[in-house]
């Protein structure tokens, strides 16, 4: 950032490179990050079009009627990834599950972001009792074991699960308990920025606190927020898998975790668990390397 060394671009350019353009340029050169973007893009595509591509509807025991149960993979091309003893087609189930897994992963992350950024920004910007109180609340939520609480809630609100809101319930709880990490990151960054002179300069020109916080401080910390959010999506998908695997999910909604759990019940039919497992591994891997790539792209110290 030191002014003297920064090269002054010739003024003929239409608009000079913003922070985002610089980050994108760096991101593009990072092969791993691009691979992450491609994987995430692929799963996003499955999330949107998975139900259309899938040959059979979700949770439809097709082979139960036609007698093609317990087929292995790559045997019958109507059921490329095999079938379950209960008659479900694995290929269809995986495609149908994509949107549900992404729904939980993205939805919970958005909720966490909303709460975490607000709480963190206020806890960092304010001083005194209110800031200490917000920090205290974040810390309490941070030490609560989210998974145990989710399992508990899934049992308490079993009626919601019955009407098909099981997935939404899991998403809500994941979101409502997953925000302290984001809040801490945001708080730390806001405390750093709060004392910089451009914030004082904003005060000196008569800008209101709200304006300073939302137009100048939060945009300046968007990069760590985006990185953190990407990694949180991956973590949330994994947690959802864990919940379903433990049998606390919604048995009527197709998710990868549910398939893995069903596979676990039939140890002789390895394909039931392995293929949805691969979907989980690759989607989580995709989000993680995308997050890492973004974090490198935004890191000013790596500026060439």
């Amino acid at each position: 950032m030191s002014g003297q060394q920064a090269p002054v671009k010739p003024p003929t350019r239409r608009r000079s490179a913003s922070q985002w353009a610089v980050a994108w340029r760096r991101f593009r050169r990072n092969k791993a990050a691009l691979a992450g973007l491609v994987i995430v893009g692929f799963f996003a595509f499955l999330g949107v079009f998975g139900s259309t591509i899938a040959p059979y509807p979700a949770r439809d025991p097709v082979c139960f009627y036609t007698g093609c149960t317990s087929l292995g993979p790559f045997v019958n091309w109507s059921h490329p990834l095999g079938t379950e003893p209960a008659g479900y087609d694995i290929y269809s189930e995986i495609l149908q599950s994509a949107k549900n897994d992404l729904y939980v992963g993205l939805g919970a992350t958005l909720i966490s972001l909303g709460i975490g950024v607000s709480v963190g920004a206020l806890a960092g910007y304010r001083k005194g009792t209110s800031a200490a109180l917000l920090l205290g609340i974040s810390q309490i939520f941070f030490v609560l074991p989210a998974l145990v609480i989710i399992l508990l809630f899934a049992r308490i609100f079993v009626t919601l699960v019955a009407v098909g809101l099981g997935l939404t319930l899991i998403m809500l709880i994941l979101g409502l308990f997953g925000w302290p990490g984001i809040a801490f990151v945001v708080r730390g960054e806001v405390i750093r920025l709060r004392e910089l002179e451009f914030v004082q300069a904003e005060r000196a020109i008569g800008a209101s606190n709200t304006r300073i916080l939302y137009r100048h401080i939060v945009p300046n910390i968007l990069s760590p927020i985006i990185v953190f959010a990407t990694l949180t999506i991956a973590a949330n998908i994994l947690t959802e898998v864990a919940i379903s695997f433990l049998g606390f999910g919604d048995p009527n909604t197709a998710t990868w975790g549910l398939l893995i759990q069903e596979g676990f019940q039939y140890p002789n039919y390895w394909w039931i668990a392995v293929f949805p497992g691969l979907a989980v591994v690759f989607s989580v891997l995709g989000f993680n390397i995308l997050g890492d790539g973004l974090s490198d792209a935004f890191n000013p110290r790596l500026r060439e």
Partner: protein
């Protein structure tokens, strides 16, 4: 004015009874060592002291109106529109995310209801005002693409966007190269004349202050030590601290050894009793330890806060005439 910082280690009395007045169109220097309360004085004038600091008492009279008593909305209107401020470090005083034009237009639009196009024109004219080369192109530049001197020009343009009547410049050249310093000072002086602004220049550089100001307020440990016209102050300092301060500045015409001021600026949580300068003052007496010296008139337009200024005035060695 009195501004304290309520820290865990104790109450830091950063500004403790500073009082001075400034005439319209004047350029006043605020001088003192680091930690003497210069910047806090400026923040107090603007009413933007942040926690744990608090303005404990006092008033800032702007055209007879105490601006510390205005409500939040009204005092925000004063800031920027009546009083503008330029900060020390141009590298951190601009938001790195917005282009120069966006930042200037923001200020313009905070203060007046202009359309985007009008605001852009205004921003352009501000850049021309601070004599930036190729203002049209700079409007689209981001702070990291500008040099330190240019950034400081942009910061000045931003402070001027609300067309303030008073401009406070807090060490505006400390972080710049010497050659750029001269340019920025020249610019500030030109702008002050051109726009008829009142300038409050905060610095510890006695050379800059001599060139730029007509009157000087010397601060020591959160109190006013001396107020005098620049000419008088340099010729005949009345306060022993001012004398010591001038003695510590290298002069090209007199090859004398520099005399540092012995000791350090006191801890402002437990400041010295009586005159705050007495532990470092070679002329201190028992009276200085016990009694706070009043700020008394000492000749034409001069104020000094020292028990012994009359005796010291007779001593020849304390003048530079």
């Amino acid at each position: 004015m009195v501004t304290y910082f309520f820290t865990e280690a104790g109450v830091v009395k950063a500004v403790d009874g500073v009082s001075f007045s400034i005439d319209e169109g004047e350029s006043v220097g605020l001088v003192g060592e680091s930690g003497s309360g210069k910047t806090v004085t400026a923040l107090t004038i603007l009413g933007i002291v942040q926690k744990p600091g608090r303005i404990v008492s006092g008033q800032i009279l702007y055209r007879g109106q105490n601006i510390l008593q205005l409500n939040q909305e009204e005092s925000r209107k004063i800031r920027g529109r009546k009083i503008g401020m330029v900060f020390q470090d141009p590298n951190s005083s601009l938001d790195p995310l917005y282009s120069v034009g966006d930042q200037l237009m923001e200020v313009v639009r905070v203060h007046s209801k202009l359309t985007k196009e009008e605001a852009r024109k205004k921003a352009l004219s501000l850049l021309e005002l601070v004599k930036i080369s190729e203002p049209e192109a700079r409007l689209r530049a981001y702070p990291f693409e500008l040099s330190g001197g240019m950034k400081q020009r942009v910061a000045i343009a931003r402070a001027l966007a609300g067309e303030p009547e008073v401009l406070i410049a807090d060490e505006p050249t400390t972080n710049l190269d010497v050659t750029i310093q001269a340019q920025v000072l020249e610019l500030l002086r030109g702008l002050q004349k051109e726009l008829g602004m009142t300038l409050i220049l905060i610095t510890h550089d006695m050379g800059i202050i001599a060139e730029m100001t007509t009157r000087i307020v010397v601060l020591y440990a959160g109190r006013v030590a001396e107020v005098a016209s620049t000419k008088d102050l340099y010729k005949v300092p009345r306060h022993p601290y001012t004398y010591a301060l001038l003695k510590a500045v290298p002069r090209i015409d007199a090859r004398k050894q520099l005399v540092p001021i012995a000791g350090n600026i006191p801890n402002l949580i437990t400041p010295p009793t009586g005159c705050r300068y007495h532990p470092r003052c070679p002329y201190a007496t028992q009276e200085c330890t016990d009694v706070i010296p009043p700020l008394e008139a000492a000749g034409e337009g001069r104020l000094v806060s020292c028990h012994h200024w009359k005796e010291l005035a007779t001593k020849k060695e304390l003048t530079f005439a």
